[in-house]
């Protein structure tokens, strides 16, 4: 099985990190992964996006043209990438910044006011972890346990409080997906 994701949003929303943690967890589970960011001037506060591929087979192109999953943290990301989601694919978006949503009916749409929920959890920075939670809750790409393990080894020593908030956000994302 091959899953191709695009995560997109404003620079600073942590979209690159969504792809990175998913890729890392995929790698931990023994899968082939690739992570390809957009780079250049847009890194400095404009729109950012990352193509992530997680596959049981060798990955040919790391460029995702037709994603199975799109995570859109703002409206321009929906406008740009939602038309190319594969039929039956998943769109996950942040209603706080996507006022017009997406009109496609041949895909699964999961949305939530992610900015509000992140603030409620206690830190706006965990917005991207909510998105990871939704992906874990909705698909079988990676296991929650793997993500928890990776995040713990990455953050436990550096910032245990943020780790707790991140795990809380992921769990909340899973609830949203299964809700």
């Amino acid at each position: 099985m091959t899953t191709e994701l695009i995560c997109a949003g404003f620079g600073g929303q942590g979209v690159l990190t969504i792809g990175k943690f998913l890729a890392k967890a995929g790698m931990t589970e023994g899968k082939n992964v690739s992570w390809l960011p957009s780079y250049g001037p847009e890194m400095r506060g404009g729109t950012a996006n990352v193509s992530t591929v997680i596959s049981d087979d060798a990955i040919a192109s790391p460029i995702v043209s037709f994603p199975n999953i799109l995570v859109a943290l703002n409206q321009p990301s929906i406008d740009k990438f939602a038309p190319s989601i594969r039929p039956g694919g998943i769109l996950i978006y942040n209603t706080n910044m996507c006022p017009h949503g997406c009109k496609r009916e041949d895909i699964v749409q999961i949305s939530a006011p992610m900015v509000d929920i992140a603030k409620e959890i206690g830190n706006p920075m965990v917005l991207n972890m909510l998105a990871i939670g939704v992906i874990i809750g909705k698909t079988r790409i990676i296991k929650y346990e793997t993500m928890e393990e990776d995040l713990t080894s990455f953050m436990k020593a550096k910032n245990p409080e943020l780790l707790e908030l991140n795990l809380k956000a992921i769990k909340r994302g899973i609830q949203i997906a299964q809700g």
Binding site: K20, A23, K24, M27, N32, V33, S34, W35, L36, P37, Y39, G40, I59, A60, S61, P62, I63, S65, F66
Partner: protein, 359 residues
């Protein structure tokens, strides 16, 4: 060793350090900045030299000096910076010094843009600098291969006393994939590596060492002497052309109706398209030159199966390796080309559409 998720730019830097590179001179440029930054962080930890030079020109000449001491030394840049290094590369080739140069290509000509491209194929494989010389040019197709090539490049550079270029691009530099590294060379091993060059390189007169006068030089003012030197270089290149051919055959079978030829990043996209077509019952093969100089002409020619109607070349340029493919095919079947430029990477769907037109 466990796999690490890493950017190509960082992976090649780490692999170079593990291969015994303790000297790195460079100048910042996008999209290879992670490489110079990684070296800035890591070289001091292994008692190595990281030096941000005042220019690409200075950086490659620092490489010339360090390589003249027989030490493993590397520089890296992206296309416009590589152009600036060309003077020094010609001198390094002329003086037969081993070193590794990484080009993380971007769109050109001129300042161009900073997105992935393959427009430096001619520069890398056909000269670039002045005079009769060759670089060994390796073109990675994945982050793992990018990293592996660092040690392979140093081995080749030492073996042939010749500069080796790793010709990557912005995509390979910026993307992350899992990488597994070879064990790092010890300080003692690195010391020994340097000593293999003592017959010709700059080094002190040590106790018991015969007094030497080694010259690091590309100047031969007497035409007859220069002629001899260049002929000797060409004898060396002929050996490299025999021994250092590397390529990958992908889905090459007798029932192929099309044979693709692509290298580096472009080859990955083509692979995706071939896989899609295979699922639809259409047989397309591909030769991916891994070393683009020396070029695997025979491998391309031999891969043209009995049913192949066309050889299709895909590159992120306007057709540079195309010339080599035409030499390899020698008019046996038509050769077609399609490419994208401006730093735009074609998609698997676009390649698939181009290939489907041929059926």
């Amino acid at each position: 060793m466990a796999k690490i998720l890493m950017k190509g730019n960082e992976a090649v830097a780490e692999a170079a350090i593990r291969s015994g590179c303790r000297l790195y001179f460079a100048y910042p440029i996008t999209p290879q900045s992670e490489l110079i930054e990684y070296m800035a962080r890591m070289m001091p930890k292994v008692n190595g030299t990281f030096l941000q030079a005042e220019s690409e020109v200075a950086a490659i000449n620092m490489v010339y000096g360090a390589a003249g001491c027989g030490k493993r030394v590397m520089t890296s840049s992206s296309s416009p910076g590589i152009s600036l290094k060309m003077e020094g590369i010609s001198y390094i080739a002329g003086a037969e010094l081993p070193c590794v140069i990484v080009n993380v290509q971007r769109g050109g000509p001129g300042l161009g843009d900073i997105q992935p491209a393959q427009g430096d194929y001619f520069q890398a494989t056909k000269g670039g600098g002045h005079g009769d010389y060759r670089l060994i040019v390796m073109a990675p197709g994945s982050v793992q291969e990018f990293a592996d090539m660092a040690s392979e490049a140093f081995e080749l550079a030492d073996k042939y006393r010749n500069p080796v270029m790793i010709l990557a691009d912005g995509m390979l530099g910026q993307m992350m994939e899992p990488v597994e590294f070879k064990p790092a060379k010890t300080d003692a091993e690195i010391e020994e590596l340097g000593k293999q060059h003592h017959s010709w390189c700059i080094h002190p007169n040590e106790d018991g060492d015969k007094k030497h006068h080694n010259e690091i030089n590309s100047l031969e003012i007497d035409p007859l002497v220069l002629e001899k030197h260049v002929n000797e270089l060409y004898e060396k290149y002929a050996v490299i052309e025999q021994k250092e051919l590397r390529y990958e055959s992908f889905n090459v079978y007798d029932d192929n109706e099309i044979l693709c030829v692509a290298w580096g990043t472009a080859s990955r996209i083509v692979k995706s398209a071939i896989n899609e077509l295979k699922a639809a019952g259409k047989s397309v093969g591909m030769i991916r030159p891994i070393n683009v100089w020396p070029y695997p002409y025979e491998a391309v020619a031999k891969a043209i199966g009995p049913k192949v109607k066309k050889v299709y070349v895909f590159e992120l340029n306007t057709g540079q390796m195309l010339d080599d493919v035409k030499i390899a095919v020698s008019g046996k079947v038509p050769v077609d080309f399609w490419g994208k430029v401006g730093g735009i990477v074609f998609t698997p769907a676009e390649i698939q559409a181009k290939l489907e037109e041929c059926f």
